[in-house]
Symmetry: C2
Subunit: 191 residues, 2 copies
């Protein structure tokens, strides 16, 4: 659990005893490619840390798959929207590669936050981090063209293009596969 410990401490100082107290509640889980951590109408009780692999977070909306995020190594993740509000999920969390995660239940997480002010602060700061990422996402959606967002993804997460089929990347970018193909053609003709 060294990666997990290190990632927590990248947010804020946590004493060894508080860290030990917190980590005891995380359970290692593995998912084969194509299996689901979560499906629509289920309640989500776990908060995850991705050790190895990749999970696609998506909805199916009138037959259309809409990928919201790909969670790969080092990501904290869950269906945060359903998790926070304690409502049934509308989404899928599907392992699109064989994946190993550490999971902590909501009740255990609350125990940890009650027990440790430092870890509650970690919770607040990791929410802040999520805020920053979502804020950038909103600005990209509002201010950039699809082509610009494609190029930015290519730059920021190049490994995704090795790991994930193009039609899922198109969905993540809010495009049809045809639309993404056109953009790629346009770009290849330019140079």
């Amino acid at each position: 659990m060294e990666e997990l410990k290190k990632t927590i401490r990248s947010f804020t100082d946590v004493s060894d005893s508080d860290m030990e107290f917190g980590l005891q509640f995380f359970k290692k889980k593995t998912y084969k490619k194509g299996t689901f951590l979560l499906k629509p109408d289920q309640y989500i009780d776990d908060f995850y840390f991705m050790k190895k692999g990749c999970v696609s977070y998506y909805t199916i909306d009138a037959g259309t798959t809409r990928v919201m995020e790909f969670f790969s190594e080092g990501y904290f993740f869950t269906d945060l929207y359903a998790y926070i509000q304690e409502i049934p999920s509308e989404s899928y969390l599907e392992a699109i590669e064989d994946s190993t995660v550490y999971a902590i239940s909501k009740a255990d997480q609350l125990k940890v936050f009650d027990h440790s002010h430092q870890l509650e602060r970690f919770g607040r700061l990791s929410m802040q981090r999520t805020f920053v990422i979502n804020f950038q996402r909103i600005n990209q959606l509002r201010n950039l063209s699809n082509q610009e967002r494609y190029l930015q993804l290519l730059e920021k997460r190049p490994s995704l293009f090795q790991r994930v089929p193009q039609y899922l990347i198109a969905s993540y970018l809010g495009l049809t596969p045809v639309g993404l193909s056109k953009i790629r053609k346009r770009l290849s003709e330019k140079r």
Copy 2:
């Protein structure tokens, strides 16, 4: 400061003594219509609660105004992106009506969170609330047409349309004034 107290307690229990400790740091400030709480390149040190009025949160990008949010009564707000990261702002916070806010400095807020675990929890939970709102925003941007987002705004915040000129609402929706006008025409012809 009754509204502020009530709004904090809508998130989590806070004892009277912690609440009193926290509230002492909030200062009442007033801004005339057309004045600025923040301009680009400034650092933002305050976290605000809107008591009365309306503030527009926007950037100007190559001459184009892009409204990100309108903060009206009952909102907690700041340029959260710059505030969290302690980087110079790229945005304006402009009073588009005469406005009264309560402000707490970042140093004072940290004092409050250090002093009170309950108020730190309020901090975490209000970040969570912000997450939920931003998540919905992202999904609206990804999954709804401009027309649908216009109709949704009309339904959720009808008073904005009385208070704010249409070209700013167009900007908030990510449209040109011409585009919004077309949508309105299309809708009025339908019925």
